[in-house]
Amino acid sequence: MTTPTTTGPLLPAGFADLEPFAARWALATEAERYAERLSSSMPDMQAFYDAAFPRLEAALAHCDALDITALPEDAKHLMHLMFSLVNVSFPVEAWKQPNVPESGAASMDLVHEPML
Protein backbone atom coordinates (compact mmCIF):
# COMPACT_ATOMS: atom_id res chain seq x y z
CA MET A 1 0.00 0.00 0.00
CA THR A 2 2.72 2.45 0.87
CA THR A 3 5.86 0.75 -0.47
CA PRO A 4 7.22 2.66 -3.45
CA THR A 5 6.56 0.73 -6.63
CA THR A 6 7.99 2.94 -9.37
CA THR A 7 10.95 1.61 -11.32
CA GLY A 8 12.83 4.92 -11.73
CA PRO A 9 14.83 6.58 -8.95
CA LEU A 10 12.83 7.02 -5.75
CA LEU A 11 15.02 9.72 -4.23
CA PRO A 12 15.85 13.25 -5.38
CA ALA A 13 18.84 13.73 -7.69
CA GLY A 14 21.84 14.20 -5.45
CA PHE A 15 20.92 11.23 -3.24
CA ALA A 16 21.78 8.50 -5.76
CA ASP A 17 24.19 7.01 -3.20
CA LEU A 18 21.18 6.12 -0.98
CA GLU A 19 19.09 4.71 -3.84
CA PRO A 20 20.17 1.08 -3.11
CA PHE A 21 18.47 1.40 0.32
CA ALA A 22 15.34 3.22 -0.80
CA ALA A 23 13.12 0.36 -1.93
CA ARG A 24 13.64 -1.41 1.37
CA TRP A 25 13.66 1.50 3.84
CA ALA A 26 11.63 4.38 2.33
CA LEU A 27 8.47 3.21 4.06
CA ALA A 28 5.55 5.55 4.71
CA THR A 29 4.35 4.29 8.09
CA GLU A 30 6.05 3.65 11.42
CA ALA A 31 4.48 0.18 11.53
CA GLU A 32 6.25 -0.77 8.29
CA ARG A 33 9.54 0.76 9.38
CA TYR A 34 9.48 -0.96 12.75
CA ALA A 35 8.54 -4.32 11.18
CA GLU A 36 11.42 -4.00 8.70
CA ARG A 37 13.78 -3.29 11.58
CA LEU A 38 12.64 -6.32 13.57
CA SER A 39 13.05 -8.61 10.56
CA SER A 40 16.49 -7.25 9.59
CA SER A 41 19.93 -8.47 10.60
CA MET A 42 22.35 -6.21 12.48
CA PRO A 43 24.87 -6.19 9.56
CA ASP A 44 22.10 -5.05 7.18
CA MET A 45 21.02 -2.25 9.54
CA GLN A 46 24.63 -1.23 10.20
CA ALA A 47 25.23 -0.93 6.43
CA PHE A 48 22.10 1.23 6.04
CA TYR A 49 23.04 3.35 9.05
CA ASP A 50 26.64 3.84 7.84
CA ALA A 51 25.38 5.05 4.47
CA ALA A 52 22.44 7.17 5.64
CA PHE A 53 23.66 8.76 8.89
CA PRO A 54 26.34 10.94 7.23
CA ARG A 55 23.68 12.11 4.74
CA LEU A 56 21.00 13.05 7.31
CA GLU A 57 21.85 16.74 7.46
CA ALA A 58 22.03 17.03 3.64
CA ALA A 59 18.66 15.29 3.35
CA LEU A 60 17.11 17.71 5.84
CA ALA A 61 18.65 20.71 4.05
CA HIS A 62 17.13 19.48 0.78
CA CYS A 63 13.67 19.04 2.32
CA ASP A 64 13.83 22.19 4.46
CA ALA A 65 13.92 24.19 1.22
CA LEU A 66 10.52 22.75 0.31
CA ASP A 67 7.02 23.24 1.77
CA ILE A 68 6.66 20.53 4.46
CA THR A 69 2.90 20.36 3.83
CA ALA A 70 3.34 19.70 0.09
CA LEU A 71 6.52 17.67 -0.40
CA PRO A 72 7.04 16.15 -3.87
CA GLU A 73 7.14 12.34 -3.95
CA ASP A 74 10.93 12.05 -4.13
CA ALA A 75 11.36 14.27 -1.07
CA LYS A 76 8.72 12.24 0.80
CA HIS A 77 10.70 9.08 0.02
CA LEU A 78 13.84 10.76 1.35
CA MET A 79 12.02 11.74 4.56
CA HIS A 80 10.63 8.22 4.95
CA LEU A 81 14.13 6.79 4.43
CA MET A 82 15.46 9.06 7.18
CA PHE A 83 12.52 8.12 9.46
CA SER A 84 13.83 4.55 9.04
CA LEU A 85 17.32 5.77 9.95
CA VAL A 86 15.85 7.18 13.17
CA ASN A 87 14.23 3.80 13.85
CA VAL A 88 17.36 1.69 13.22
CA SER A 89 19.53 4.11 15.20
CA PHE A 90 18.30 2.38 18.35
CA PRO A 91 19.53 -1.13 17.42
CA VAL A 92 22.73 0.30 15.96
CA GLU A 93 23.64 2.95 18.54
CA ALA A 94 22.21 1.43 21.71
CA TRP A 95 20.84 -2.11 21.70
CA LYS A 96 23.21 -4.10 19.45
CA GLN A 97 20.14 -6.18 18.59
CA PRO A 98 17.01 -5.43 16.52
CA ASN A 99 14.46 -5.42 19.34
CA VAL A 100 14.31 -3.43 22.55
CA PRO A 101 15.99 -5.34 25.42
CA GLU A 102 13.70 -6.40 28.25
CA SER A 103 10.68 -5.78 26.04
CA GLY A 104 9.78 -9.45 25.49
CA ALA A 105 6.28 -9.87 24.11
CA ALA A 106 5.23 -6.26 24.78
CA SER A 107 3.99 -4.25 21.81
CA MET A 108 3.32 -0.55 21.30
CA ASP A 109 1.41 0.29 18.12
CA LEU A 110 1.41 3.74 16.56
CA VAL A 111 -2.26 3.90 15.58
CA HIS A 112 -2.22 7.55 14.52
CA GLU A 113 0.79 9.35 13.06
CA PRO A 114 1.07 12.62 11.16
CA MET A 115 1.51 11.73 7.49
CA LEU A 116 3.69 13.66 5.06
Binding site: E30, Y34, F53, L56, E57, A59, L60, C63, D64, L66, I68, L71, A75, M79, M82, F83, L85, V86, N87, S89, F90, E93, A94, W95, V100, P101, E102, S103, G104, A105, A106, S107, M108, D109, L110, V111, H112, E113, P114, L116
Partner: protein, 431 residues
Protein backbone atom coordinates in the same frame (compact mmCIF):
# COMPACT_ATOMS: atom_id res chain seq x y z
CA UNK B 1 21.08 13.35 51.22
CA UNK B 2 18.43 15.49 49.57
CA UNK B 3 19.47 17.31 46.40
CA UNK B 4 16.29 19.40 46.39
CA UNK B 5 14.48 20.85 49.43
CA UNK B 6 11.59 18.90 50.97
CA UNK B 7 8.70 20.20 53.09
CA UNK B 8 9.29 21.09 56.74
CA UNK B 9 7.85 17.74 57.87
CA UNK B 10 10.99 16.11 56.46
CA UNK B 11 9.36 14.35 53.52
CA UNK B 12 6.75 14.93 50.86
CA UNK B 13 4.72 11.97 52.09
CA UNK B 14 4.52 13.23 55.68
CA UNK B 15 3.40 16.64 54.41
CA UNK B 16 0.05 14.86 53.74
CA UNK B 17 -0.34 12.86 56.99
CA UNK B 18 -3.47 11.06 55.78
CA UNK B 19 -1.30 9.13 53.32
CA UNK B 20 0.67 7.44 56.10
CA UNK B 21 4.10 5.90 55.54
CA UNK B 22 3.29 2.21 56.07
CA UNK B 23 3.75 -0.45 53.38
CA UNK B 24 0.88 -0.46 50.87
CA UNK B 25 -1.32 -3.43 49.98
CA UNK B 26 -1.47 -4.24 46.27
CA UNK B 27 -4.43 -6.56 46.68
CA UNK B 28 -6.32 -3.82 44.83
CA UNK B 29 -4.34 -4.76 41.72
CA UNK B 30 -4.69 -8.51 41.91
CA UNK B 31 -8.34 -9.28 42.47
CA UNK B 32 -11.19 -9.91 39.99
CA UNK B 33 -13.66 -9.02 42.75
CA UNK B 34 -11.96 -5.71 43.48
CA UNK B 35 -12.00 -4.86 39.76
CA UNK B 36 -15.76 -5.48 39.64
CA UNK B 37 -16.10 -2.90 42.43
CA UNK B 38 -13.80 -0.45 40.62
CA UNK B 39 -16.11 -0.58 37.60
CA UNK B 40 -19.00 0.73 39.70
CA UNK B 41 -17.21 2.88 42.27
CA UNK B 42 -14.79 4.58 39.89
CA UNK B 43 -15.28 4.11 36.16
CA UNK B 44 -19.05 4.59 36.13
CA UNK B 45 -18.82 7.68 38.36
CA UNK B 46 -15.67 9.63 37.51
CA UNK B 47 -15.04 12.11 34.73
CA UNK B 48 -13.08 10.19 32.09
CA UNK B 49 -10.97 11.80 29.39
CA UNK B 50 -11.67 10.43 25.90
CA UNK B 51 -9.38 12.63 23.81
CA UNK B 52 -9.28 16.16 22.47
CA UNK B 53 -11.49 18.43 20.42
CA UNK B 54 -9.00 18.44 17.52
CA UNK B 55 -10.04 14.82 16.86
CA UNK B 56 -13.48 16.22 15.92
CA UNK B 57 -12.45 18.98 13.50
CA UNK B 58 -15.82 19.81 11.91
CA UNK B 59 -19.59 19.42 12.19
CA UNK B 60 -20.38 15.70 11.82
CA UNK B 61 -16.91 14.48 12.83
CA UNK B 62 -17.22 11.51 15.16
CA UNK B 63 -15.09 8.94 17.00
CA UNK B 64 -16.12 5.90 18.99
CA UNK B 65 -14.41 4.96 22.25
CA UNK B 66 -14.68 1.57 23.92
CA UNK B 67 -14.88 1.78 27.72
CA UNK B 68 -14.56 -1.86 28.71
CA UNK B 69 -14.42 -1.00 32.42
CA UNK B 70 -17.99 0.29 32.14
CA UNK B 71 -18.94 -2.31 29.50
CA UNK B 72 -20.01 0.36 27.04
CA UNK B 73 -19.02 2.11 23.85
CA UNK B 74 -19.36 5.87 23.41
CA UNK B 75 -19.89 7.99 20.31
CA UNK B 76 -18.32 11.45 20.47
CA UNK B 77 -19.64 13.78 17.78
CA UNK B 78 -19.51 17.46 16.90
CA UNK B 79 -23.11 18.58 16.43
CA UNK B 80 -24.55 21.26 14.14
CA UNK B 81 -23.91 23.94 16.76
CA UNK B 82 -20.25 22.96 16.97
CA UNK B 83 -20.67 21.42 20.44
CA UNK B 84 -19.11 18.06 21.34
CA UNK B 85 -21.76 15.55 22.42
CA UNK B 86 -21.48 12.00 23.76
CA UNK B 87 -23.94 9.12 23.38
CA UNK B 88 -23.97 5.47 24.29
CA UNK B 89 -23.25 3.64 21.04
CA UNK B 90 -26.51 1.69 20.96
CA UNK B 91 -29.50 1.75 18.60
CA UNK B 92 -32.78 2.25 20.46
CA UNK B 93 -34.58 -0.31 18.30
CA UNK B 94 -33.08 -3.65 19.34
CA UNK B 95 -29.76 -2.81 20.93
CA UNK B 96 -27.38 -3.16 18.01
CA UNK B 97 -24.13 -1.28 18.28
CA UNK B 98 -24.84 1.78 16.15
CA UNK B 99 -21.42 2.91 14.84
CA UNK B 100 -18.70 0.43 13.93
CA UNK B 101 -16.74 -0.72 10.89
CA UNK B 102 -15.65 -4.29 10.16
CA UNK B 103 -15.13 -5.38 13.75
CA UNK B 104 -17.72 -4.45 16.40
CA UNK B 105 -15.07 -4.26 19.16
CA UNK B 106 -12.80 -1.86 17.30
CA UNK B 107 -12.95 1.91 17.60
CA UNK B 108 -13.72 3.88 14.48
CA UNK B 109 -13.88 7.48 13.31
CA UNK B 110 -15.21 9.49 10.42
CA UNK B 111 -17.62 12.18 9.40
CA UNK B 112 -21.34 11.95 8.70
CA UNK B 113 -24.59 13.92 8.54
CA UNK B 114 -26.49 11.33 10.54
CA UNK B 115 -25.97 7.90 12.10
CA UNK B 116 -27.68 4.95 10.39
CA UNK B 117 -28.00 1.59 12.11
CA UNK B 118 -26.63 -1.30 10.02
CA UNK B 119 -29.37 -3.63 11.23
CA UNK B 120 -32.73 -2.08 10.29
CA UNK B 121 -31.73 1.35 9.03
CA UNK B 122 -32.94 3.54 11.91
CA UNK B 123 -31.35 6.97 11.66
CA UNK B 124 -30.27 9.51 14.28
CA UNK B 125 -29.27 13.16 13.92
CA UNK B 126 -25.99 14.54 15.29
CA UNK B 127 -27.96 15.72 18.34
CA UNK B 128 -29.11 12.15 19.00
CA UNK B 129 -32.68 12.64 17.83
CA UNK B 130 -34.31 9.64 16.12
CA UNK B 131 -35.14 10.94 12.62
CA UNK B 132 -36.14 7.87 10.61
CA UNK B 133 -37.74 4.50 11.36
CA UNK B 134 -37.85 1.91 8.61
CA UNK B 135 -41.51 0.96 7.94
CA UNK B 136 -42.59 3.19 10.77
CA UNK B 137 -46.28 2.30 10.13
CA UNK B 138 -45.59 -1.29 11.23
CA UNK B 139 -44.89 -0.15 14.81
CA UNK B 140 -47.44 0.37 17.53
CA UNK B 141 -47.92 3.95 18.78
CA UNK B 142 -44.23 4.68 18.26
CA UNK B 143 -43.31 8.31 18.91
CA UNK B 144 -39.81 8.95 17.58
CA UNK B 145 -39.32 11.66 20.21
CA UNK B 146 -39.34 8.91 22.85
CA UNK B 147 -36.34 7.11 21.35
CA UNK B 148 -33.33 9.42 21.03
CA UNK B 149 -29.79 8.09 21.52
CA UNK B 150 -28.94 7.78 25.21
CA UNK B 151 -26.90 10.88 26.04
CA UNK B 152 -23.81 10.78 28.25
CA UNK B 153 -22.70 13.77 30.32
CA UNK B 154 -19.91 15.41 28.32
CA UNK B 155 -17.84 18.47 29.16
CA UNK B 156 -14.72 20.03 27.68
CA UNK B 157 -11.83 21.52 29.68
CA UNK B 158 -9.03 23.28 27.75
CA UNK B 159 -9.89 21.20 24.68
CA UNK B 160 -9.85 17.88 26.57
CA UNK B 161 -13.12 15.96 26.21
CA UNK B 162 -14.42 14.25 29.36
CA UNK B 163 -17.51 12.11 29.88
CA UNK B 164 -19.22 10.94 33.05
CA UNK B 165 -21.34 7.79 32.85
CA UNK B 166 -23.34 8.47 36.01
CA UNK B 167 -27.00 9.38 35.53
CA UNK B 168 -26.37 12.47 37.62
CA UNK B 169 -22.65 13.21 38.19
CA UNK B 170 -21.92 14.28 41.76
CA UNK B 171 -19.76 17.15 40.49
CA UNK B 172 -19.38 19.19 37.34
CA UNK B 173 -16.10 18.68 35.49
CA UNK B 174 -14.93 22.08 36.72
CA UNK B 175 -15.57 21.12 40.35
CA UNK B 176 -14.02 17.69 39.84
CA UNK B 177 -10.79 19.16 38.43
CA UNK B 178 -10.79 21.82 41.14
CA UNK B 179 -7.63 23.88 41.60
CA UNK B 180 -5.69 21.64 39.21
CA UNK B 181 -8.07 22.63 36.42
CA UNK B 182 -7.95 26.30 37.35
CA UNK B 183 -4.18 26.49 37.71
CA UNK B 184 -3.34 24.50 34.55
CA UNK B 185 -5.83 26.39 32.35
CA UNK B 186 -4.18 28.65 29.81
CA UNK B 187 -1.36 26.33 28.80
CA UNK B 188 -1.29 26.44 24.96
CA UNK B 189 -2.54 22.84 24.51
CA UNK B 190 -4.71 23.93 21.58
CA UNK B 191 -1.71 25.14 19.58
CA UNK B 192 0.13 21.81 19.81
CA UNK B 193 -1.95 19.88 17.32
CA UNK B 194 0.63 17.55 15.74
CA UNK B 195 -0.38 14.26 17.38
CA UNK B 196 1.09 10.74 17.55
CA UNK B 197 -1.09 8.11 19.29
CA UNK B 198 0.22 4.77 20.58
CA UNK B 199 -1.85 1.94 22.02
CA UNK B 200 -0.76 -1.22 23.75
CA UNK B 201 -2.54 -4.05 25.52
CA UNK B 202 -0.60 -4.66 28.72
CA UNK B 203 -1.00 -7.76 30.85
CA UNK B 204 -1.05 -5.89 34.13
CA UNK B 205 -3.55 -4.07 36.31
CA UNK B 206 -4.15 -0.49 35.11
CA UNK B 207 -2.81 1.03 38.35
CA UNK B 208 0.53 -0.71 37.97
CA UNK B 209 1.28 1.25 34.79
CA UNK B 210 0.13 4.52 36.35
CA UNK B 211 2.51 3.72 39.20
CA UNK B 212 5.34 3.14 36.72
CA UNK B 213 4.94 6.56 35.11
CA UNK B 214 4.06 8.34 38.39
CA UNK B 215 7.55 7.82 39.81
CA UNK B 216 10.92 8.35 38.15
CA UNK B 217 12.80 6.46 40.88
CA UNK B 218 12.99 3.59 38.33
CA UNK B 219 14.36 5.63 35.44
CA UNK B 220 18.12 5.54 36.07
CA UNK B 221 17.95 1.77 36.59
CA UNK B 222 15.40 0.27 34.17
CA UNK B 223 16.42 2.51 31.27
CA UNK B 224 20.17 2.68 31.90
CA UNK B 225 21.09 1.10 28.56
CA UNK B 226 19.40 3.98 26.75
CA UNK B 227 22.13 6.36 27.91
CA UNK B 228 25.80 6.09 26.98
CA UNK B 229 27.76 4.00 29.52
CA UNK B 230 29.47 6.72 31.60
CA UNK B 231 26.29 8.73 31.82
CA UNK B 232 24.26 5.67 32.86
CA UNK B 233 26.61 5.03 35.80
CA UNK B 234 26.42 8.66 36.85
CA UNK B 235 22.61 8.72 36.65
CA UNK B 236 22.32 5.54 38.72
CA UNK B 237 24.68 6.97 41.35
CA UNK B 238 22.72 10.22 41.57
CA UNK B 239 19.37 8.44 41.74
CA UNK B 240 16.19 10.40 41.31
CA UNK B 241 14.54 13.17 43.27
CA UNK B 242 11.60 15.27 42.14
CA UNK B 243 11.57 19.05 42.49
CA UNK B 244 8.04 19.23 43.81
CA UNK B 245 4.95 17.16 44.54
CA UNK B 246 1.37 18.18 45.16
CA UNK B 247 -1.75 16.26 46.12
CA UNK B 248 -5.10 17.81 45.14
CA UNK B 249 -8.74 17.10 46.00
CA UNK B 250 -10.54 14.24 44.21
CA UNK B 251 -7.40 12.13 43.81
CA UNK B 252 -5.46 14.34 41.41
CA UNK B 253 -1.72 14.93 41.92
CA UNK B 254 1.44 16.22 40.27
CA UNK B 255 5.13 15.40 40.24
CA UNK B 256 7.45 18.14 38.96
CA UNK B 257 10.92 17.15 37.73
CA UNK B 258 14.20 18.60 36.61
CA UNK B 259 15.01 18.58 32.93
CA UNK B 260 18.44 17.16 32.45
CA UNK B 261 18.79 17.00 28.71
CA UNK B 262 17.22 19.86 26.83
CA UNK B 263 19.87 20.44 25.61
CA UNK B 264 22.37 18.29 27.53
CA UNK B 265 25.29 20.06 29.16
CA UNK B 266 27.71 17.61 27.57
CA UNK B 267 26.84 16.39 24.08
CA UNK B 268 28.83 13.20 24.67
CA UNK B 269 26.08 12.15 27.09
CA UNK B 270 23.67 11.43 24.25
CA UNK B 271 23.58 9.15 21.25
CA UNK B 272 24.84 10.33 17.82
CA UNK B 273 21.36 10.62 16.28
CA UNK B 274 20.26 12.85 19.17
CA UNK B 275 23.33 15.06 18.75
CA UNK B 276 22.59 15.61 15.06
CA UNK B 277 18.83 16.09 15.42
CA UNK B 278 18.81 17.94 18.78
CA UNK B 279 15.95 15.79 20.08
CA UNK B 280 15.36 12.67 22.14
CA UNK B 281 13.27 11.28 24.96
CA UNK B 282 12.73 14.73 26.42
CA UNK B 283 11.51 15.96 23.03
CA UNK B 284 13.02 18.48 20.62
CA UNK B 285 15.60 20.54 22.55
CA UNK B 286 14.52 23.82 20.99
CA UNK B 287 11.21 25.46 21.82
CA UNK B 288 8.70 25.84 18.99
CA UNK B 289 8.55 29.35 17.58
CA UNK B 290 5.24 31.14 17.49
CA UNK B 291 3.90 29.65 20.74
CA UNK B 292 4.15 31.85 23.81
CA UNK B 293 5.69 29.83 26.64
CA UNK B 294 6.95 32.83 28.59
CA UNK B 295 3.94 33.18 30.86
CA UNK B 296 3.04 29.66 32.00
CA UNK B 297 0.00 29.04 34.22
CA UNK B 298 0.74 28.61 37.95
CA UNK B 299 0.34 24.79 37.96
CA UNK B 300 3.28 24.44 35.55
CA UNK B 301 6.66 24.28 37.31
CA UNK B 302 4.87 24.77 40.66
CA UNK B 303 8.17 25.05 42.54
CA UNK B 304 9.24 27.79 40.05
CA UNK B 305 12.54 25.94 39.89
CA UNK B 306 15.21 27.04 37.40
CA UNK B 307 16.14 23.43 36.62
CA UNK B 308 12.51 22.52 35.85
CA UNK B 309 12.04 20.02 33.00
CA UNK B 310 8.56 18.51 33.16
CA UNK B 311 5.36 18.13 35.17
CA UNK B 312 3.28 14.98 35.23
CA UNK B 313 -0.32 15.79 36.20
CA UNK B 314 -2.32 12.75 37.32
CA UNK B 315 -6.01 13.34 36.71
CA UNK B 316 -7.93 10.74 38.70
CA UNK B 317 -8.63 8.01 37.90
CA UNK B 318 -6.79 7.12 34.68
CA UNK B 319 -5.57 10.20 32.80
CA UNK B 320 -2.15 11.87 32.81
CA UNK B 321 -0.99 15.11 31.18
CA UNK B 322 2.78 15.48 31.01
CA UNK B 323 4.03 18.97 30.14
CA UNK B 324 7.65 19.34 28.99
CA UNK B 325 9.74 22.47 29.43
CA UNK B 326 10.80 22.60 25.73
CA UNK B 327 7.17 23.16 24.71
CA UNK B 328 5.31 19.92 23.96
CA UNK B 329 3.15 17.52 25.96
CA UNK B 330 2.12 13.89 26.33
CA UNK B 331 -1.09 12.31 27.58
CA UNK B 332 -1.64 8.80 28.93
CA UNK B 333 -4.97 7.02 29.35
CA UNK B 334 -5.15 3.65 31.10
CA UNK B 335 -8.28 1.58 30.29
CA UNK B 336 -8.82 -1.54 32.40
CA UNK B 337 -9.88 -4.63 30.44
CA UNK B 338 -9.69 -7.09 33.34
CA UNK B 339 -8.12 -7.10 36.81
CA UNK B 340 -4.82 -8.15 35.21
CA UNK B 341 -4.99 -6.41 31.81
CA UNK B 342 -5.45 -2.91 30.43
CA UNK B 343 -5.24 -0.90 27.25
CA UNK B 344 -2.63 1.85 27.40
CA UNK B 345 -2.95 4.92 25.18
CA UNK B 346 -0.09 7.39 24.86
CA UNK B 347 -0.41 10.55 22.77
CA UNK B 348 2.41 12.97 21.95
CA UNK B 349 1.45 16.53 20.98
CA UNK B 350 3.80 18.97 19.26
CA UNK B 351 3.50 22.31 17.52
CA UNK B 352 2.86 21.70 13.81
CA UNK B 353 6.34 21.41 12.22
CA UNK B 354 7.32 24.27 9.96
CA UNK B 355 9.94 22.32 8.07
CA UNK B 356 11.52 18.88 7.56
CA UNK B 357 14.04 19.29 10.37
CA UNK B 358 11.32 19.98 12.94
CA UNK B 359 9.33 17.00 11.63
CA UNK B 360 12.40 14.73 11.93
CA UNK B 361 12.98 15.87 15.52
CA UNK B 362 9.40 14.90 16.37
CA UNK B 363 9.94 11.50 14.75
CA UNK B 364 12.95 10.86 16.99
CA UNK B 365 11.00 11.89 20.09
CA UNK B 366 8.06 9.63 19.11
CA UNK B 367 10.29 6.63 18.33
CA UNK B 368 12.25 7.12 21.58
CA UNK B 369 8.99 7.18 23.54
CA UNK B 370 8.13 3.75 22.13
CA UNK B 371 11.53 2.27 23.03
CA UNK B 372 11.10 3.31 26.66
CA UNK B 373 7.43 2.39 26.90
CA UNK B 374 8.16 -1.13 25.65
CA UNK B 375 10.56 -1.63 28.54
CA UNK B 376 8.08 -0.19 31.02
CA UNK B 377 5.18 -2.29 29.73
CA UNK B 378 7.11 -5.52 29.83
CA UNK B 379 8.28 -4.90 33.40
CA UNK B 380 4.67 -4.52 34.50
CA UNK B 381 3.79 -7.94 33.20
CA UNK B 382 6.61 -9.31 35.34
CA UNK B 383 5.16 -7.50 38.37
CA UNK B 384 1.61 -8.75 37.79
CA UNK B 385 2.82 -12.33 37.41
CA UNK B 386 4.42 -12.27 40.83
CA UNK B 387 1.53 -10.45 42.52
CA UNK B 388 -0.52 -13.48 41.50
CA UNK B 389 1.80 -15.71 43.53
CA UNK B 390 0.48 -13.87 46.63
CA UNK B 391 3.74 -14.56 48.42
CA UNK B 392 4.08 -10.87 49.22
CA UNK B 393 1.07 -8.53 49.30
CA UNK B 394 2.38 -5.36 50.98
CA UNK B 395 5.14 -3.18 49.63
CA UNK B 396 7.25 -0.35 51.13
CA UNK B 397 6.95 2.83 49.04
CA UNK B 398 9.58 5.55 49.30
CA UNK B 399 9.05 9.29 49.34
CA UNK B 400 9.60 9.47 45.55
CA UNK B 401 6.67 7.04 45.15
CA UNK B 402 4.18 9.30 46.93
CA UNK B 403 1.91 9.48 43.86
CA UNK B 404 1.64 5.67 43.78
CA UNK B 405 0.71 5.73 47.46
CA UNK B 406 -1.90 8.41 46.79
CA UNK B 407 -3.46 6.58 43.83
CA UNK B 408 -3.89 3.29 45.67
CA UNK B 409 -5.28 5.07 48.73
CA UNK B 410 -7.86 7.05 46.75
CA UNK B 411 -8.94 3.95 44.79
CA UNK B 412 -9.22 1.87 47.96
CA UNK B 413 -11.10 4.66 49.79
CA UNK B 414 -13.59 5.11 46.93
CA UNK B 415 -14.21 1.38 46.65
CA UNK B 416 -14.69 1.18 50.43
CA UNK B 417 -17.18 4.07 50.31
CA UNK B 418 -19.06 2.38 47.48
CA UNK B 419 -19.20 -0.88 49.43
CA UNK B 420 -20.50 0.94 52.49
CA UNK B 421 -23.23 2.50 50.33
CA UNK B 422 -24.31 -0.76 48.74
CA UNK B 423 -23.48 -3.24 51.51
CA UNK B 424 -27.09 -3.65 52.55
CA UNK B 425 -28.11 -4.44 48.96
CA UNK B 426 -25.50 -6.92 47.72
CA UNK B 427 -22.74 -8.12 50.01
CA UNK B 428 -19.50 -8.62 48.03
CA UNK B 429 -16.38 -10.13 49.48
CA UNK B 430 -12.91 -8.94 48.64
CA UNK B 431 -9.98 -11.08 49.52
Amino acid sequence: MAHFPKPAEGSWTQHWPHLGTAPVSYDDSNSPEFFELEREAIFKRSWLNLGRVEELPKVGSYVTREIAAARTSIILVRDRDGQVRAFHNICRHRGNKLVWQDFPQEETRGSCRQFTCKYHGWRYGLDGELTFVQQEEEFFDLDKADYPLVAVHCEVWEGFIFVNLAKEPKQTLTDFLGSLGTDLAGYPFGEMTQMFRYTSTINANWKLFIDAFAEFYHAPILHQRQAVADEATKLAGFGYEALHYDIFDNGHSVVSSWGGMSPPKDLNMVKPIERVLRSGLFGPWDKPEGIDLSNLPPAVNPGRHPKWGQDSFQVFPNFVILVWEPGWYLTYNYWPLAYDQHLFEGRLYFAPPRNATERMRQELAAVTFKEYALQDGNTLEATQTMLKAQVVTEFPLCDQEILCRNLHKVVQDQVAAYRAETETETPVSVR
